[in-house]
């Protein structure tokens, strides 16, 4: 067992058995053999002790092996901040591999503004950012509330159902359909494309590379129809497709770039909030004293939402590619190397966040978490995400003072990128 500055044995007192076993394994295994992209760590939720160990022993860590090629792991909050804010030396460019640990396929590059560097990134991002302007958010708030109410009104009472499908997916997909002005009855296609776009082809049951690309092209065909309907409208609509079709920075995009930006907006506007809605319910119900605090003081909802987003960290990492040699933490990252910023680890870094493993809805500096990223690629939709979560919790507070019962463990997504859930059985007490 390595020497530790912090007494984790005490800190993690009462942790679930699967984590105790994972901790024993993590500290008995050489770091050289660790591959954080191994999906077993994510489906089993056993990555935590590995990150603790990396933060302590090797905060800038080189993984020589791994299924997707060698990469650096950056695991401390301050180091992640340093990389994320240094877009001059750390590129997001799709053609260098993009923003996930796994390189974008060289024969199926999807340019999208999150995977671009300035100046092109800036103008494309600005083309869509009006969708989350303060004025539009104020307009969306009422709509989100009405829909959330309708979703909750239709939930069964006294019987077990899947929270992910009935609440998390439904609410975020309805939102996304509105932002795209997408045909309402087809809206679950957005969920489907979102899930397939990020599905790891090495995981059994997921589409192969060819199958995934075919699904992505179906998405492009569908959205091309919407583009063609809207591009010549005399008055541009207030939806994302119209914004892309009418903005000088995006109206001449090649089809793959249109598809890339669509996938970005679909995944960014769907998977992330969905998984924070599901995670938040588990955290709140597993921490009755925090739930009691929120019920006693509903004004804590904003703070609780930030804490949920930190605690969930719906995207486990973002990746950059070094454009030059960079010295960090006594190591030399070489030009061309993959650099993975593990937000999920930085958000539990005891050097930056007091009692990081505690779900604490009114913690100090609650907004200072890494889940949205920092720097020029910071999540463009962060306020919309917060708004959706806030409304979900306000409606839960109104309706379910007894809480919602968690009937079993969630099924976790097999991905080191999307940190999420495919199901969570729950029951509303009769």
């Amino acid at each position: 067992m390595a020497t530790r500055a912090i007494d984790f044995a005490a800190l993690n007192d009462g942790e679930p058995p699967h984590l105790a076993a994972a901790r024993a394994q993590a500290y008995a295994t050489p770091l050289e053999t660790l591959d954080l992209l191994d999906t077993d760590l994510w489906t089993g939720d056993t990555h935590w002790p590995w990150f603790e160990r990396l933060r302590d022993e090797s905060p800038i860590h080189y993984h020589a092996g791994g299924g997707f090629g060698p990469y650096w792991s950056v695991t401390r909050y301050a180091d992640i901040m340093a990389v994320d804010t240094d877009h001059v030396r750390f590129s997001s460019d799709a053609h260098l591999g993009g923003i996930t640990a796994k390189d974008m396929d060289a024969d199926f590059i999807l340019p999208m503004f999150i995977a671009m560097d300035p100046p092109k990134h800036d103008v494309q991002r600005k083309a869509v950012s009006p969708i989350v302007s303060p004025g539009n958010l104020a307009f969306l708030e009422q709509l989100i509330r009405e829909r959330a109410q309708a979703i909750f009104d239709n939930l069964p009472v006294g019987e077990t159902f899947d929270w992910v499908d009935r609440v998390s997916i439904e609410l975020t997909t309805q939102m996304l359909a509105t932002l795209f002005d997408f045909p309402w009855e087809d809206r679950r296609l957005l969920t489907y494309w979102s899930d397939k776009a990020t599905a790891d082809e090495t995981v059994p049951g997921n589409p192969t590379k060819q199958e995934r690309e075919a699904i992505m092209l179906e998405c492009l065909v569908y959205f091309t129809k919407l583009w063609n309907e809207r591009v010549n409208a005399p008055e541009p609509g207030n939806d994302l497709v119209s914004m892309l079709a009418h903005n000088p920075a995006t109206r001449n995009m090649i089809p793959m770039e249109y598809l890339g930006n669509l996938i970005l907006l679909i995944v960014g506007g769907n998977d992330t909030t969905r998984n924070s809605i599901t995670g938040g319910l588990q955290f709140m119900m597993a921490n009755p004293s925090e739930w009691a605090k929120l019920k006693a003081n509903p004004a804590l909802v904003d703070s609780a939402v930030s804490e949920i987003i930190r605690y969930q960290t719906p995207l486990a990492h973002m990746r950059r590619t070094a454009l030059t040699d960079v010295e960090m933490g006594g190591k030399t990252i070489r030009k061309g190397d993959r650099v993975v910023m593990w937000y999920v680890s930085g958000n539990r870094d005891e050097r930056a966040i007091p009692e990081p493993n505690r779900f604490w809805i009114d913690r100090p500096r609650v907004r200072q978490h890494l889940s949205f990223g920092f720097g020029i690629h910071r999540c463009v939709g962060n306020r919309l995400a917060e708004l959706q979560l806030k409304i979900v919790w306000q409606e839960i507070l109104k309706r379910y003072p007894e809480g919602i019962e968690i009937m079993g463990p969630p099924t976790r997504v097999a991905s080191a990128f999307v940190k999420g859930y495919s199901s969570l059985p729950v029951r509303i007490p009769a």
């Binding site: 994320d84 804010t85 600005k126 989350v132 302007s133 303060p134 500096r365 910071r378």
Partner: protein, 106 residues
């Protein structure tokens, strides 16, 4: 030290004594000035401490860095007098400075 006046979107003014070297964002957050979030803790990395500097104080406040300019690209309602409050440190030269804060930081 500098006396800094923050004028909220609704016109309410609040004057705070800010110690030298402390940023206008830190002082605002520590004193509960509305309309300043400071999500990144002063790293010029989130653009949630956007303020409008009164014209007569713009020169004294200094120039935007490259990173600050990049982050301001994505703030709402940016004008020529826009700055990020985390990038302005109090000093005697700023005593009496006036900044306006937006209704919210989006």
């Amino acid at each position: 030290m500098a006396r800094i006046t923050y004028i909220a979107a609704d016109g309410a003014a609040r004057t705070i004594d800010v110690d030298d070297g402390v940023s206008l964002m830190e002082a605002a957050v520590a004193n509960g000035v509305p309309g300043i979030d400071g999500d990144c803790g002063g790293n010029c990395a989130c653009a949630t401490c956007h303020v409008h500097v009164a014209p007569e104080w713009l020169a004294a406040a200094g120039a935007r860095s490259e990173m600050e300019a990049a982050m301001l690209e994505f703030a709402d309602g940016v004008t020529a007098d826009s700055r990020l409050a985390c990038q302005i440190a109090a000093s005697p030269a700023l005593d009496g400075m006036v900044v306006r804060t937006p209704a919210s930081q989006h």
